[in-house]
């Protein structure tokens, strides 16, 4: 177990390096440090000297990947890439291009993100599973047909519509919740709408997925055994089908749990929630490379953790699986 986890973590390192490399390549291909400087310094009265100064302060005055001036290892180490990456691997995010401590921002912004994403996630899964179970219970009835048709419709609607509709009705017409914003003191009122929207937007796809999983389980022999034992239908559903069905469900679900931390780009920017999702989006628009880099890095780390968690969660729910 322990050795397994360690191995997986070691395996993560090359991935992280790869991720970093890619990010750098992409980002610096599209905008050179000079341009970044210009964006950051604003338009009026900017001189070359100021730009040089800015770059120097943030260590963008070195070559990207290979430093031909420096000798020996220097050719590789005295570069933007090396210096920035090394810090990242140690989780030192440093300062954003506009001079704020990134880790401080992350620490602060993760809470709103979590406040939205966790409820969305949990409620979402519960709702989906319940509906799916219901459908499986009534499979080969008109109820199933209707439910599935509904699901297809739901997932044929662009998520943007859910957001627009949600804000229009809940916040504007019915004045039930604030249209947007967030207050750390009383998050519930603000989180409610995003959560509802998020859940509804996900219900179509989720239900369909879980239904197929459950149907597959429902055709297994042990279900027949259970019914041959005289177990009533509901009990079969909950005591036998559900626990087994959860195993495949886990694969699709556990991976994203750590990523909940990153929040949702769309929802957060629509509902003005100061989470990490909108943070990333703003950084992209402002071309604040330091932040983008950190978020990407964070994202991939979380993703890898997610993969790990998935494996571990298997051992918890499925007695057959042993990690080695």
């Amino acid at each position: 177990m322990a050795t397994y986890i360690i191995r997986r973590l070691l395996y993560a390192i090359p991935i992280l390096i790869g991720v970093n490399l890619l990010t750098f390549a992409l980002f610096f291909m599209v905008n050179t440090p000079d341009q970044m400087a210009r964006v950051q310094l604003g338009e009026k009265h900017v001189t070359e000297a100021d730009i040089e100064q800015w770059k120097a302060e943030r260590g963008y005055d070195q070559p990207l990947f290979i430093n031909s001036e420096a000798e020996g290892m220097g050719t590789l180490t005295q570069t933007i890439f090396f210096e920035k990456s090394i810090k990242l691997l140690a989780f030192e995010f440093g300062k954003s291009d506009e001079g704020r401590s990134i880790s401080a921002d992350i620490k602060e912004r993760m809470w709103p993100s979590l406040a939205v994403s966790i409820p969305t996630f949990i409620v979402g899964i519960l709702v989906n599973i319940c509906v799916a179970l219901l459908v499986v219970m009534f499979r080969a009835t008109s109820f199933e047909v209707a439910a599935m048709a509904l699901c297809v419709m739901l997932l044929s609607i662009s998520p943007v519509f859910y957001v627009i509709g949600g804000q229009f009705f809940f916040a504007k017409l019915w004045a039930l919740v604030p249209i947007s914003g967030y207050l750390p003191e009383e998050p519930w009122r603000f989180v409610l709408l995003p959560v509802i929207v998020g859940v509804i937007a996900g219900i179509g796809a989720g239900t369909r997925l879980y239904r197929t999983v459950f149907i597959e389980e429902a055709n297994k022999d042990y279900i027949r055994t259970a019914r041959a034992k005289g177990v009533p239908e509901l009990t079969v559903l909950f005591r036998h089908l559900l626990p087994n069905g959860m195993i495949p469900v886990l694969t699709s679900v556990v991976v994203i749990i750590p990523s909940l931390f990153m929040g949702s780009l769309l929802v957060e920017s629509f509902f003005g929630i100061p989470g990490l999702g909108s943070y990333t989006l703003d950084a992209i628009n402002a071309q604040d490379f330091a932040i983008v880099r950190s978020m990407v890095f964070l994202g991939s780390v979380l993703y890898i953790i997610g993969l790990l968690l998935t494996d571990i969660s298997y051992t918890l729910v499925d007695p057959r699986v042993k990690l080695s």
């Binding site: 604003g42 009026k44 900017v46 401590s101 239908e233 003005g272």
Partner: protein
């Protein structure tokens, strides 16, 4: 199943909070409102810099201009804009010197130096701030030898011990030195070095000093002297400029010249603080009416009334109409009127508008889309819609001294250059491109077509018949009327493009519009192409991100582009210098003269105009300059934006100021009225909720029925 428990707990809580908070559920502000008078507003761009030496954008000014007090300020009500002393006893005394430093008479021909003599009001105190906290022995309360000692202080709030001190001349001098410090990246450094005596040298010295210093160490600028600065006594100091620079007085009303005491600078450079974002760039310290108590660009910025604020009073005289607009009701009262101002981060236009309509924001601009809802455009200009009137909203308009234009890159082979051909082409475009319609469709009439770069409210702007651009407009029964398309086509033909086709090759003329993708909506692009098609020109749109756009301008690779300028100060110089040859983008990277327009005569006139005081003589010069611009037409189809501000019923004393942002202290709010209206406008509607629940039930019920039936089912013959 513990998931279920957590979930249900969560839901229950959320319902409870929203339920028993108070009658209104959709209040985006803390439902428990303290009994202070709070103004709620919003900001869309997180301010990047709050250091008065560094900050140079409107959305930053709206915060720090409440905190910092430069020597001068603008009169709140008077138009045209008028300077008045803020921390000074009277307007600065200006006199001229010759090379030797002998005082010259007022009317001396181009003197060597000009000196500004400023005298401060005594007894002006700073806001409470830890940097002023001292022990009984006068030593600083907060003093750390190294980062470890300060490690306990994560944020500025952790510094509980406060202190204050009086404003002195040193503070202004220190700030001017900061402007010269290269590390501050002061936008104005380049410009001011040209004028303030010894500033350039000072910068170099500082740079030299910094060579062997950590990037976060404090350099006490008092150790170095700037020739052009002279402290007379604690309340009096002089600034010495090379030659004459009449516009300098306007800069004195800009926060660049706000006081920064060395104590503050020292404090923010204590070991370990800069690493933790505890810097002057984030936590301003000033003598203004408000002080920044919370600066969280992720969610909100809060200004709090400065308890030590000097005695300052609401102006007693204003423009004639102000009287009946009730703007003089509080004449002579002590400002500020509100205790707190909360600015919340809002990125989307829609929520802002909705919240304003729900009464959760006290004031709001008018976005395009909410415009028709907000106002009616009747024959007699723009008025509030009935809907708004019924809500008690009142509107307040102003022309922002600004000019937006369609720039022609003068280095471009087709549209640019001094050739008759290009000139005619530019003029043709100027006629074809229907600015009026643009303003109608995309600004809902919130603007006026520009006859010259000089916007209304600035000296040199002319109205009426003599104001119009005769090359584009005719004066028809008391109104300017755009010349006919035929006229444009004629010009085009003369330019050698009959029917928009090159006379030689017969190739259709395709022009390129450079634009940033963010500002280019489908509708807008379509509209522009329509304009050029009117005279059979093909317009090719090159949308790109802001960086590329800037780069194109700098390298002179743009052809036609959109650009604009907001006034720094109310003087024609601030607009006409945008076409001053030496400022041409491509050779001087200063980035003002984006069209790279060069014209010897114009530059000559510019030099004169700059020094002249406002008056008929200056007017003449400006007229000639403008005529040059009209014929050359490097800027076509200009317009000047109008500002509209909607105020909810409970807001009073709101009058937009085109230049100054330091107007918060004059705003007044009636909290009771606000609360009452909010309740009235936000009655939660529970019916839909009930419906949803019923619907769910309706869904579940048949399922249960089916189940029952299935349980009863037998295999029947």
């Amino acid at each position: 199943m513990n998931l279920v428990q957590r979930l249900s707990a969560l839901l229950a809580l959320s319902l409870m909070v929203s339920g028993c908070g108070d009658a209104i559920w959709n209040n985006p502000h803390p439902s428990a409102d303290r009994d202070e008078v709070v103004l709620y507003s919003n900001f869309s761009e997180r301010p990047k810099h709050l250091d008065p030496a560094r900050s140079y954008s409107a959305d930053e000014s709206q915060f720090i201009d409440q905190v910092y007090e430069p020597p001068l300020q603008y009169h709140y009500l008077k138009r045209p804009y008028e300077l008045e002393p803020a921390t000074l006893t009277q307007m600065p005394e200006l006199y001229f010197l010759d090379e030797e430093g002998n005082r010259l008479p007022e009317d001396a021909e181009n003197p060597a130096y000009s000196v500004y003599d400023l005298t401060l009001k005594p007894g002006i105190m700073y806001q409470p701030h830890p940097s002023f906290a001292r022990n009984d022995d006068g030593s600083f309360y907060y003093d750390f030898a190294n980062a470890e000692e300060s490690s306990a202080y994560r944020t500025l709030k952790d510094f509980t011990e406060m202190g204050t001190q009086e404003l002195t001349a040193d503070d202004y001098i220190y700030q001017i030195k900061r402007l010269a410090d290269p590390k501050r990246l002061a936008p104005l450094r380049g410009l001011l070095s040209k004028y303030i005596v010894g500033m350039k040298e000072f910068s170099e010295e500082v740079a030299a000093r910094r060579e062997n210093m950590g990037s976060n160490d404090w350099l006490d600028l008092r150790e170095l002297e700037m020739a052009g600065l002279e402290k007379v006594d604690d309340y009096r100091f002089r600034i010495k400029l090379k030659g004459v620079y009449p516009q300098f007085q306007y800069w004195l009303a800009f926060h660049f010249f706000a006081p920064v005491p060395w104590e503050v600078d020292r404090f923010y450079h204590l070991p370990g603080l800069p690493e933790r974002n505890i810097t002057l760039d984030w936590h301003p310290v000033g003598t203004g009416a408000f002080m920044m108590v919370e600066n969280n660009p992720n969610s909100q910025i809060v200004l709090q009334r400065n308890p030590n604020f000097r005695d300052d009073f609401y102006p007693t005289e204003g423009m004639p109409e102000d009287q009946h607009n009730g703007l003089l009701a509080d004449a002579g009262q002590k400002v500020p009127f509100i205790d707190r101002a909360v600015y919340r981060l809002e990125k989307e236009a829609i929520p802002i508008w909705t919240k304003f309509m729900q009464g959760y924001y006290d004031r709001s601009g008018i976005s395009n889309d909410s415009f028709d809802q907000a106002v009616d455009m009747s024959s007699d200009g723009i008025n509030l819609s009935d809907d708004m009137r019924s809500k008690g909203v009142h509107l307040d308009k102003a022309t922002r001294p600004s000019t937006f234009y369609l720039g022609m890159n003068m280095l471009d082979p087709v549209v640019g250059g001094d050739s008759e051909r290009a000139r005619k082409l530019r003029q043709a475009i100027a006629i074809a491109y229907d600015t009026e319609e643009f303003i109608q469709i995309f600004l809902n009439g919130r603007g006026e077509p520009g006859m010259s770069p000089v916007p209304p409210g600035i000296f040199g702007h002319q109205v009426g018949e003599e104001g119009i651009n005769p090359l584009v407009y005719d004066w028809v029964d008391g109104k300017p009327q755009r010349k006919s398309i035929e006229e444009a086509k004629r010009l085009l033909a003369e330019a050698g493009y009959p029917d928009g086709r090159d006379a030689e090759t017969g190739e259709p003329l395709v022009l390129n519009l450079d634009i940033t993708s963010t500002s280019s909506t489908k509708a807008r692009l379509a509209w522009m192409q329509k304009q050029f098609n009117k005279i059979d020109l093909q317009l090719n749109i090159r949308a790109t991100d802001y960086n590329r756009f800037k780069e194109k301008l700098e390298t002179g690779n743009a052809q036609i582009f959109f650009f604009g300028w907001l006034a720094d100060y109310p003087d024609p110089e601030n607009f006409l210098f945008l076409l001053h040859g030496p400022n041409a983008q491509v050779d001087s990277k200063s980035g003002v003269n984006a069209t790279n327009f060069k014209n010897a005569r114009y530059d000559e006139l510019f030099a004169q105009m700059k020094l002249l005081p406002n008056g008929p003589e200056r007017m003449e010069v400006i007229r000639e300059m403008i005529d040059i611009l009209r014929t050359e037409a490097p800027w076509t189809s200009m317009f000047h934006g109008h500002d509209y501000m909607l105020n909810n019923a409970w807001v009073s004393n709101s009058k937009l100021h085109g230049i100054s942002k330091a107007t918060l202290k004059y705003i007044k709010i009636d909290p009771e009225l606000r609360q009452q209206k909010q309740r009235e406008w936000n009655k939660p509607n529970l019916v839909p909720l009930v419906l949803v629940i019923l619907l769910l039930a309706a869904l579940i019920f048949p399922a249960i029925m089916v189940y029952q039936r299935r349980q009863k089912q037998t295999i029947g013959e």
